[in-house]
Amino acid sequence: MKRRTFLTRSSSLLAAPILLNGMRLSAWAAPTEWLASLAGASDRVLVIIQMEGGNDGLNMVIPAEDDQYYKLRPTLGIAKSVALPLAGQPLLRLHPKMGGVRSLFDDGRLAIVENIGYDGMNLSHFTGTEIWNTASGNRQDQFLQTGWIGRYLQHEYPDFPAVLPADPPAIEISLATSTVFTVQGASIGMSLTDPQQFYGLVNGGAIVRDDLAPDNRSGREWNFVDSINNQSQVYSEVVRAAAQKGSNRVSYPDDNLLAQSLGIIARLVAGGLGTRIYKVTLGGFDTHSTQAPQHEKLLTTLSDAIKLFQDDLIALGVDQRVVGMTYSEFGRRAGENGSGTDHGTSAPHFVFGSSIDGGRVFGGIPNLGALDANGNLPAAVDFRCYYSSIFAPLFNLDAKAMATVLPIHPCDLPDYLPLFRIPQSGADSPAAAATGVSVTVQPNPVSGDARITLRSPRRGTATIMLTSAGGERVRRLYSGEMEMGSMMLRCDLSGVPAGSYIVTAEIAGGMATTKVTVVR
């Protein structure tokens, strides 16, 4: 059964952006437990796809019902008739060339997070990219010198680079590693373009090692080169072994370099390499002029590559532990400049994987009626919340840990987006079994009174929250003390619009969730 048939999607009209309307979700520390419950997923992998140059989100995920969009884009606007509809999303369509992404969305394996950005977005490619890579603030005194992934990995491998982990912690399929992976004095990511060639190069001549240099200006550069030299020597064998052991189950076309790079990643993951983070880049999104053909080509490349990669992961049987995400330094101006678009602000991005609760749109729809004085879109989802919502559940990091990964404006737990698939029944959830908390709703579907049963092995303060499938808080159903054992509540849901909802119950450090469908 396709997972999306399980739910009837809520109307995106309901999905007002979380941060705009000021509503807060209840503690979403929960996703960490949901994901921890996924069977066999002890080594999860994040694949980051950078869209370099500032992707035009409005022509990728198209607000096709908004007349304002076509007014702002008299020549570049993509007609509703050719844009691809998305199941359960009457207001948004996809670029016509993104059939691959659409199929993943409809199949429930890809979610769209809309309106991602930050306050006072920097419209410089250079500074903007560094802000995203390092998760810096937008003021100079908030600039960080290490990458956000680098900070995570440095603390997981505190002795790096003096002591190298058995497998490379992060790999960028590129000639160079980006600042995402920078740690003090080194890069904790390694780069390669071809595992076999890499091995041959490293082992094709003398292995030269020298002593460490003193900690002064020239010595620090020396030590940096030395750390790279050491990594390439240590990792050439393990990477080759994984590449030889792994394989691909789909064919990646030669003319899609992004797909080729993702294919290498699929191979390495399948081959058992213990690398946590991979990164690839697709460049060319700075479409100031003659945008239409360029952007079409880029989105074709992106969509085809993501689809092939996901298909391969499924065929290889590793799809449950791999999550992909996209990012770009900014979106583009809502209004066109004749044949292209200038630098803009917030934009949508994709999160995909079999553990992702796909087929949903988070962050609302672009609000073209609320452009700022420069004609740019307001942000609804802070990019650090976007990062946190993926990263924390995936790597089982709590809020405190996330605050150290993202020290500037860390995302508050209530602002996390519930991107990951939630176990369908609280009672069945391994996470719930672990804490002993469970919640059930009867009847389901429900139109009026619902009976909610909460069980807990400990006494404490219980909170039961009803949220939309898009993650917005709808109603607090209960808040109060509860004794050990079980408790039944009767709640009148007759005022709640039809749609899919999540009931989240928390008590004494445990939590459980269940889905409920409201019908009218």
């Binding site: 419209l123 490293v202 020396w222 420069n374 405190k400």
Partner: protein, 543 residues
């Protein structure tokens, strides 16, 4: 164990460590350097100026004072000859872009242009011109793939090299209305009435002149300024390529916005002719202290020390800003933006010769490619032998991450430490191995149709004559002294005893006594092994 236990156990608050940056032992000073003038300081100056001196150049330079050397370095080369096979008439209509008539020639000529530029860099006199041309190419980055007409790239390169040591304001003026930039950053599309394109207006300020903010992070301009600058620059286009594919002046054709503009705190009087508006705009931009400081910071990071671990969004160290950047920026303005004046000052100041400034720069791919050939060549590289070497350089530049004329974006290459990765470092080693061993090459796409005087797909070996190189040293017959002399010549960072011992072992194993009488063939084999090892050292990546 839960992974995040690490966080909890180590340092829950995980403060960002102090920026990795030296605390200067001495206050950086622009005062004239008066310390020892010896082979180490001379080689340091020459490395920063021409990447690597040849043996002969080092001999010449050793007899010169600091001022005499700087005079040489600030003298441009004689005008270079055109690229091999260059023609404006080999297409039927020089006024029509190549991509509309000789699509097949574009790749061929882009490659030919790269070989040509390496030739200039390898064979340059002791002049800063070539390295500064690279600096300006990165500063005013345009991409040949986007332009799709090699003539545009060549013309822009001429602008950069002819003005590399001249007036920075003239350079900005020339680049602004040059065809390559008008096309690359969409100036030719920017017109009045709903077609204002902000691309060039933004980068002119952010990347080419004033910079996005001062060293304290205060923005230098607003989005409104970008809009006003864009309106000021509306209407520029070009009239074609001129006779024989030559340069035709860019001009204001249609679509200039004639209304008044306000940029920063200045006003540009509206005019139906955009030319005087451009001059007023440059007056306003060049009246700002920050314009001088931005460019001086970039020059400092290129020629002296990057002072950053990542990228230039990070401010420069306060003591450098205060003692080097600010006073030099003032001199830059006072000297009417004469680049040579500030180069002379920077390369003769105390700070430039501080002990750990020497060897504190990572070689860019271009530096690595050029330094290897320059460092070992015994004469200018010419003829087929030269072409094969330039071919391997242009070929390997791609895998090293710096394909000339193809920077990844308008911000130039992601340089500094990004140059060196687990991908590119082994590729660097492969390149240096290949040049001393010899590697077969084919002159890529040098087609007979394009180059009637050349052999189509000429093939040969790219190689450096390591024996001739070594024989230049008076210590040639003494292996231990020879190794020390070659290491001193090739390496910016003083080699360790351990490295020197290993190099001697590579040259003669434990049979130093056999060296003197060994036949040249045997010496060549041993020299190659020694040089391969030397150039695989960490040391060789520094300059």
């Amino acid at each position: 164990m839960d992974r995040y236990q690490f966080f909890l156990r180590r340092n829950p608050d995980m403060p960002e460590k102090e920026p990795e940056r030296s605390v200067a032992a001495v206050t950086p000073s622009l005062a004239r350097y008066s310390g020892p003038w010896n082979r180490r300081t001379i080689a340091h100056l020459l490395r920063r100026a021409v990447v690597a001196p040849t043996y002969a150049e080092m001999q010449t330079a050793s007899t010169k004072s600091m001022d005499e050397l700087i005079d040489m370095l600030l003298t441009p080369n004689a005008a270079s000859s055109a690229p091999h096979g260059w023609c404006g008439d080999c297409v039927s209509n020089p006024n029509v872009p190549w991509y509309d008539q000789r699509f097949d020639l574009i790749d061929a000529f882009n490659i030919e242009l790269r070989r040509w530029w390496y030739q200039q860099m390898v064979n340059t006199n002791l002049s800063l011109q070539e390295r500064m041309t690279i600096f300006w190419h990165n500063h005013f980055a345009t991409n040949a793939f986007v332009l799709y007409d090699p003539r545009l790239i060549y013309f822009q390169n001429q602008i950069l090299r002819q003005r590399a040591l001249g007036s920075f304001r003239d350079l900005v003026r020339a680049v602004t209305t040059d065809k390559a930039m008008l096309m690359f950053l969409d100036g030719k599309y920017s017109k009045n009435n709903g077609y204002v394109n902000e691309n060039y207006a933004r980068e002119l300020q952010e990347l080419f002149t004033i910079g996005i903010s001062d060293n304290n992070g205060t923005p230098n301009y607003t989005q409104a300024d970008i809009r006003e600058v864009a309106r000021t620059l509306t209407g520029w286009d070009w009239l074609g390529y001129g006779p024989s594919g030559g340069d035709a002046a860019s001009n204001l054709l249609t679509g200039h916005d004639p209304t008044t503009k306000k940029v920063y705190d200045g006003t540009i009087a509206g005019n139906t002719d955009g030319s005087p508006e451009l001059e007023q705009l440059l007056d306003i931009i060049f009246n700002r202290e920050e314009t001088a400081r931005y460019v001086i910071r970039k020059l400092y990071r290129f020629l002296v020390h990057t002072d950053v671990t990542l990228t230039p969004i990070y401010p420069i160290a306060p003591e450098i800003e205060e003692n080097i950047i600010a006073p030099l920026a003032a001199e830059f303005r006072a000297a009417n933006w004469n680049i040579s004046v500030v180069l002379r000052r920077l390369l003769t100041c105390e700070h430039f010769y501080e002990d750990d400034i020497i060897a504190s720069t990572l070689k860019s791919p271009t530096d690595l490619l050029v330094s290897t050939v320059r460092g070992m060549r015994t004469a200018p590289m010419a003829g087929n032998a030269g072409d094969y070497v330039f071919e391997i350089m242009q070929n390997r530049a791609v895998t090293l991450g710096q394909k000339l004329f193809f920077p990844p974006g308008v911000q130039g290459w992601k340089h500094y430490r990004n140059w060196i990765s687990t991908s590119t470092l082994p590729q660097r080693h492969l390149y240096t191995d290949q040049l001393v061993n010899g590697v077969p090459v084919t002159l890529t796409l040098r087609s007979a149709a394009l180059f009637p005087d050349a052999v189509q797909y000429a093939s040969g070996t790219a190689i450096i004559d390591t024996l001739a190189f070594a024989k230049q040293f008076p210590s040639f017959s003494d292996p231990e002294a020879l190794v020390a002399d070659i290491a001193e010549h090739m390496l910016a960072y003083a080699p360790s005893r351990k490295l020197l011992d290993r190099l001697l072992y590579e040259l003669v194993a434990d049979r130093a006594y056999e060296w003197k009488d060994a036949p040249d063939e045997a010496k060549t084999i041993r020299l190659r092994a020694m040089l391969r090892y030397l150039m695989r050292s960490t040391n060789y990546q520094l300059m």
